[in-house]
Symmetry: C2
């Protein structure tokens, strides 16, 4: 275990760069922060290559467990101070730990669709907070995973990891083009369900088949026509007010919980 | 109509300060941005005192409608450029319009609870994005309004207004202490419903009475025990994964849509 307290330390500088997408891609590494999320990761068997922690927090059992597990797995635990944690995190109050993790995705081809009754699919999601929140919901509804289509925001961004509250480490995430996904989907059973404004089918009255693949479209534009045309079922959520759409993570959750309840009978 | 293209202009500086809570409170004014949100506001009868717009966008009918309506109501429409709009908004791509509005809240005492079957209530909400998203959901489910309890984040923050997608202008918002709310609630009919981990009552199987007041607790801690004890009904949303909670705006929406569906039969 070593200690770093200088802003100018090269490792601090290199770690801070992982807040930037280009550097994450080049390094294949990302940042996660906060005791709750890092503990969730540890319990899922994911340990950081580098763990920064605040020494005054070492008496807390969960921090100790992270330090011990990180070092046992060949990673490095580094004592530092709250100022450097803030610099790494970009937050005033970053908590007591930040970890550097290797990026991981699940190849679409290795997904076993029979493993779950519900899968979430999102296309061209732009907001990292929405992506993280959808991951958190995926965990809660017991979804098999989240499949990101086309040009989605990076699931390893600091904001997405934070909003996922650790679900990034527990919910399989795959990335594919629409065409790759469509071919894979049609190679086996699965009902593709999309939200649409152009249908009379209320989401509470529709019939869902297992496994259900729930498709969420881009925040501003929804899904393009050719994706809607491919859906086996288009449903609408009632909108009783002035606006014509819900937040994408909210719409996904309302749909996901409906499908879950229906599958559970 | 006048034109401002200098960053150093005092009105630009004063307007930019409204991104800060203290200055909003002192001025009683807040910022909203983007054609969609300002148009939603206009249609709800809310016009800005000052409208900043980009001249290249004046040929767009919705911008023109805003300029005309603002001036007709005695407000000022100011031509500016994209750089100044960015500076006012803090975003790289702020759209074509930003408005300065007078703050408005609905006094709790003037709420007519019979006007809607569902009301949303949130206590100590910390995240402005969650607050705005809950407002957007409140609009969608036809809720009578949102009641903010105790120390909630400012509904007039730039992030909350943005996440509300205009619902801030269409959904009544009240602010009260827990004790003020409790006294008001018990002065008439109303079922107070809270989410809890400490109940076996599934939210899909519970009985909801109208008007339903749906209480969302603080993001990190949930609601305190004395609020849970005051609830007429505590329900749980199933959590099938590793985590024990949903995002606060997601949980509110899942509950709100369940209550809506049950009220509609």
């Amino acid at each position: 275990m070593r200690s770093i307290t200088a802003f100018s330390n090269p490792l601090v500088k290199a770690t801070r760069l992982l807040r930037d997408k280009k550097h994450r891609r080049d390094a294949g590494r990302f940042l996660a922060e906060g005791l709750r999320i890092l503990t969730e990761a540890r319990e899922a068997g994911r340990l950081p290559e580098t763990l920064f922690f605040v020494p005054s927090a070492t008496d807390r059992p969960l921090v100790n467990a992270l330090v011990t597990a990180t070092e046992a797995a060949g990673g490095e635990a580094i004592e530092t101070n709250a100022d450097i944690l803030s610099k790494l995190s970009g937050k005033d109050n970053p908590g007591s730990v930040i970890g550097v993790y290797e990026e991981f995705l699940t190849p679409l081809a290795s997904i076993d669709r029979a493993a779950a009754q519900l899968w979430l699919v999102a296309e061209r999601l732009r907001d990292p907070g929405n992506l993280g929140t959808i991951l958190r919901t995926a965990d809660a509804v017991g979804a098999g995973g989240l499949i990101l289509l086309d040009d989605c925001v990076d699931p390893f961004s600091v904001e997405a990891v934070r909003a996922s509250m650790g679900a990034l480490f527990t919910v399989p995430v795959a990335r594919a083009t629409w065409e790759e996904f469509r071919m894979w989907l049609r190679s086996g059973p699965g009902q593709l369900v999309g939200l649409s404004l152009d249908t009379d089918a209320d989401y509470r009255a529709a019939d869902y088949a297992s496994p259900t693949f729930l498709l969420t479209g881009n925040e501003a534009q929804g899904m393009p026509d050719h994706m809607a045309a491919e859906c086996d079922l288009l449903v609408k959520i009632p909108m009783l007010g002035k606006a014509d759409s819900l937040n994408a993570a909210v719409a996904t959750a309302v749909m996901a919980y409906e499908v879950l309840a229906r599958h559970r009978g």
